[in-house]
Point group: C2
Amino acid sequence: MARVPDMGGLLGTVRDALRHVPTPALVVDVDALQANIEAMAAQAQQAGIQLRPHAKTHKTVEIAQRQLAAGARGVACATPLEILAMANGGVQDLLLTSPMQDVAKMPTLIVAARSAKLSVVVDHPSQIDLLRQQMPAGERPLTILIDVDVGQRRTGVCDVADSVALARLIKEWPGAGFGGLQGFAGQVQHVHDPVERRSGNAAVAAMLRSHAQALTESGFVVDDITGSGTGTFAFDVAGPFSELQVGSYIFMDADYGRVQDDEGALPFRRTLYVLATVTSVNRAGELTVDAGVKALALNGPLPDVFGGLPQGASYRFAGDEHGVISLPAGAAPPRPGQRVLIGATHCDPTVNLFSRLHAVSAEGAVDEWAIRARY
Amino acid sequence: MARVPDMGGLLGTVRDALRHVPTPALVVDVDALQANIEAMAAQAQQAGIQLRPHAKTHKTVEIAQRQLAAGARGVACATPLEILAMANGGVQDLLLTSPMQDVAKMPTLIVAARSAKLSVVVDHPSQIDLLRQQMPAGERPLTILIDVDVGQRRTGVCDVADSVALARLIKEWPGAGFGGLQGFAGQVQHVHDPVERRSGNAAVAAMLRSHAQALTESGFVVDDITGSGTGTFAFDVAGPFSELQVGSYIFMDADYGRVQDDEGALPFRRTLYVLATVTSVNRAGELTVDAGVKALALNGPLPDVFGGLPQGASYRFAGDEHGVISLPAGAAPPRPGQRVLIGATHCDPTVNLFSRLHAVSAEGAVDEWAIRARY
């Protein structure tokens, strides 16, 4: 079972502090968020491993700054737009985790590189060509890592020989330094069973070790092996990773609530909710809220945590702007206009549906954080 | 089969005109869009039925203005934010199609009502109470319609007696006028088979007729019956509707491409695409593009129309920022950095993922339209 916070307390604070904010609104329990940030930082520090949380999860400068204050060396970003938003927000050390092949994105990266130490990953010689052609001389040297396909079949080199060939190309460019390897095992992060997840992850570690060994034997220094995620960080601190790109641990979500480690649920709390208003109550045993496909990401389990609704409530999507919540038999329905909290489905794409994240503490609304770099 | 435009021509124009625009980018074929707008307007005019296209599909003032220029009486909106965006864009006649129960949304509606004729729908007395309490005296009178649940089980009154009771409450408020009925049959729009769809729709029409009859017998004048959609408009022009809230016909999408009428595909062209860049090409028979869950809505069939890829290509989602495209055996893969067009999945929530819509004609990029009223 997920460690669900006391929703009653949070709900009361939210209903009061955000009473003038139209719904649907995205809400984070900022005390639990801070606890998650510190818990991950403590685990990384104890293991002697660097932390580079992934900003694609939150897209907010304020959360990145909290992660840095807790000891992260920098942040990871999925797109050049995120890189620029974080650089403009004062983040000094940035890694772009997607190989980049689009000349139209270069101006964004060039501007970001003026204020931050920038690292990128590549999986093909043409990406190095693009960077060499476009990155002006005089910018500070790029760090380039090689992205390895560790079984996700999305990006990355598949062969050890390709890693060595790319490292040679990087070495030939004086404007860049070779930084090591990246391997993100997206296919393993969400495996609920810890034994199965550990076994899938061992194969990932073996792949990265073979690439690192080949590079070392060819005379390259592999400074960093970056990757990991909220589902596997507890295994990955044992190596070969030197840096953790964990993202979802700050919010958790309906799926990560089901991922188990050896002691049960992962050691993080659910913090991300969509605040919705009860709109229609004409059907017995059901009510309709104003949060649908444009407020809750579809690629995850349905919402499984609610505030302000009886135990046993369940949610179904009902179009762009509506969700229908079924109530257990005999439960008293909330009145029209009442506000309820709905636990986020998949955290990253849910955040991406909103322009603002309302940070709420037991004391009330703390702040309104801009969600940046949406398309 | 969907009537697919000549993608080759569009692709060439897009590759040239948008070469400085980073991908993923949302693109509309503006000539085909205009043809769709005019085709629907002609059908409505021929049937002597009013057109009120739904702005939730496009969220752009520019498309609303084209719809009005082609003869629409006004536009429909799903949220008060959309209402305000359209009012600010000069649209004079607006209908909010979702019953509204959230006091925090009232300021948005009040501002919009200063510049536009505003109609809203209700399905509960408490919504009328909220409007009466909040709408300042001196604003122009609201038109209030009764939302009927025609089988979607989302919003709307379920009983004829409730319609009559609500009409009485509306009549008691001098600040409002009773406008008629709304019935949106979301459950019928996407039924692919025309015989099945027509039969489901007949039940909807019968329900609306029974509500209208009861209201008429109670002395109310039912000025309008509004509803319908791209899947059923061809049936609905025969009544009881007086006004069509069609939305998706302007773009069509992977699902509406499969909806059949008696003559085959619906008489509208596919116009909406996501432009993406080929990012990774290391796996035989596959390539990775930079358009994933944050660029293409998940609640529809997978993309089924491509520009710049061999016949027989297929797409799978690969995370927030990536999609993987499988190529048929023996097909020559595009080179890294090449740009491809991907037909939109579900049009409304795909539009909602972008801040800009690039309008492209055979002559080049025509304009960049702001997508408004995202959360």
